[in-house]
């Protein structure tokens, strides 16, 4: 049983105050999304709305003139498919690079590793041409493929697979399991924390991506949330209460995922990068 120490309590309180100052912009955002437009910029700030306008604001965002709910749905589709494909591909590749011996393994891994250094913007023009050539320009599939080509998941999972004792896998092989069974039944369950980390990171990156949808989508009906948010902000100009309601809607799913998954993210980032 730990005893509660006074100095720790004091430090916690001070740090808590610093923390609240730090998230004040978010508190302002939530508060602004709940009140009528006229009160948003009133000073002193009404942290708790005097007049509530939450239902009207969120209704206007979700069922108003800009098809926000469509953008939201598009983002869910793109994010879920990207995350699933990215996890499958990087998990397979990571297993191959970590646990299968084959000629050219180091060269192929080095190739994948170096693409990590290339700034995404430097490849935009050729990617654009390739996407048009493959008839994938202005489709969700282009975003899904681009998102899945990220290699962070492969590094991270390779690190985790390397941590598995070879004997565990070899005994399965002696029992007659082929590589696919060993991979899917034995190795992958053992790297569950790594999978959770890779999943959360890819989910957050894809959900928040603005650059790729901006370049590879043209049709309004395919727009993702981030493009929609920008459009919504331009369309509603000075209606900050509505814009803030849209922002809260866009951030909320990620916040929930992060609160539940933060243990894995930290664990994964720590083992993937810090230990080297």
């Amino acid at each position: 049983m730990k005893t509660i120490r006074l100095d720790r309590v004091l430090i916690t309180i001070v740090m808590g105050a610093v923390g609240i100052l730090f998230v004040m912009p978010f508190l302002w955002m939530i508060s602004a999304s709940l009140k009528p437009e006229l009160d948003v910029l009133a000073y002193p700030i009404q942290w708790i709305p005097k007049t509530w306008h939450a239902v009207e604001n969120y209704k206007e965002v979700w069922a108003g003139e800009v098809t926000f709910s469509l953008y939201y749905w598009n983002t869910i589709v793109v994010t879920v498919l990207t995350t699933a494909l990215s996890l499958l591909l990087s998990c397979m590749a990571a297993y191959g690079f970590a646990k299968v011996k084959f000629k050219g393994r180091e060269v192929l891994f080095l190739l994948v590793l170096t693409t990590f250094m290339i700034p995404t913007q430097a490849t935009l023009v050729p990617q654009f041409i390739i996407m048009r050539w493959m008839q994938l320009f202005d489709t969700h599939l282009s975003l899904i493929l681009l998102g899945s080509s990220g290699v962070i998941g492969t590094f991270l999972l390779r690190q985790f697979f390397m941590g598995i004792n070879n004997e565990v896998l070899e005994s399965a092989r002696i029992d007659g399991a082929n590589h696919w069974t060993t991979f899917s039944r034995i190795a992958t369950p053992l790297v569950a924390p790594g999978l959770a980390t890779a999943m959360i990171l890819r989910f957050v990156f894809t959900w928040n991506d603005y650059q790729n949808p901006l370049i590879f989508l043209r049709s309004d009906r395919l727009f993702t949330l981030q493009l929609g948010m920008k459009k919504f902000a331009d369309f509603n100009g000075e209606f900050y209460s509505l814009i803030m309601a849209a922002s809260v809607s866009a951030i909320l799913p990620l916040l929930i995922i992060f609160i539940f998954g933060q243990k894995y993210v930290i664990e994964g980032v720590a083992s993937g990068s810090v230990k080297g």
């Binding site: 602004a32 910029l41 681009l146 080509s149 810090v274």
Partner: protein, 302 residues
């Protein structure tokens, strides 16, 4: 007997090779098609004068002209200077987050609560963050200037709307958005430091400050190195935030290299010139990484 074993091993390694290629092929092909080949193409296009909408037959090779023009292009040079100014955020963010991480890790309750709080801006979309700060920094009616005026500052800065304050405003926002990442990585690093080192220091009668400089800091050096590299690379890549926040303005005061690249590629349709910017960017990032890689031996302890 031994022949049979040998045959089996050979069959096994043949089978392994196939399995290896099949497992890695999808990812390798994807990175080849979407990253490796594009960067090579970018390199080729950077030696041409070309508008990619117009088709391949209009392509014209111009040698190093695009690169030579880059160094005469005031907008580009200005954006490059801005990029180097933005680098200042990296050490500041690392310093603040290390102090916060050390205090929270050592002496606070509810660690997960703090992790979530500081990580929040990092998981929020840059579009939402940019829109939010545009309102907060609003020159006449934003809450920040409202506060400054209420404490007696009559003419607070116009922030994003004033060319002489806009870059520093962007830097404040970037610092706020990135701090959580640095902090979480430092916390992970701190948790990996074995406790007996501190106990040994206690026996030697070391003060807390002494312990921080002689135990914590050296053992965190791999983490610091990692954060320095990712921070610098990340700051060169920053696009979304600036695009929504200021669009490079006012008067080009927040222009950065990736923004110049985007403008030339997709607005002015100068593919060759844009590719040259991309390749320059790649070389700058590679050079910085290389310098750090060589330099790390001097100060990183494993």
């Amino acid at each position: 007997m031994s022949q049979a074993v040998e045959k089996r091993t050979r069959k096994q390694s043949y089978y392994d090779a196939w399995a290896g290629y099949l497992f890695t092929a999808p990812m390798v092909i994807l990175t080849l098609v979407l990253t490796a080949i594009p960067i090579v193409l970018s390199g080729i296009v950077s030696f041409t004068d070309w508008n990619f909408i117009a088709g391949l037959n209009t392509i014209r090779f111009v040698g190093f002209d695009n690169y030579a023009n880059l160094f005469r292009d005031d907008d580009f040079l200005h954006s490059m200077r801005n990029n180097f100014t933005l680098l200042a955020i990296v050490p500041v963010s690392m310093f603040i987050s290390l102090v916060l991480a050390a205090i929270i890790n050592k002496a606070a309750y509810f660690k997960s609560f703090f992790k979530v709080i500081y990580f929040m801006p990092f998981i929020s979309s840059f579009v939402a963050v940019a829109i939010l700060w545009r309102v907060l920094f609003h020159p006449s009616s934003g809450p920040i200037n409202g506060f400054l005026m209420s404490i007696g500052i009559e003419h607070p800065p116009m922030w994003l709307a004033d060319p002489s304050y806009s870059l520093i405003s962007v830097m404040i926002i970037m610092l706020w958005a990135n701090l959580g990442f640095d902090m979480i990585i430092y916390m992970a690093g701190l948790q990996n430091i074995p406790n007996d080192l501190y106990e040994a220091a206690d026996i030697d009668g070391a003060s807390s400050i002494r312990k921080f400089f002689s135990v914590t800091l050296p053992l965190l050096s791999p983490t610091t190195f990692f954060l320095l590299i990712t921070g610098i690379v990340g700051s060169f890549r920053a696009f979304d935030l600036i695009m929504v926040l200021t669009g490079g303005g006012p008067a080009g005061s927040t222009d950065v290299m990736v923004f110049e690249l985007y403008q030339n590629a997709f607005v002015n349709l100068k593919s060759g010139y844009a590719s040259a910017i991309g390749i320059m960017l790649l070389f700058i990032i590679l050079a910085i990484t290389l310098i750090q890689w060589v330099g790390q031996k001097k100060w990183v302890n494993y």
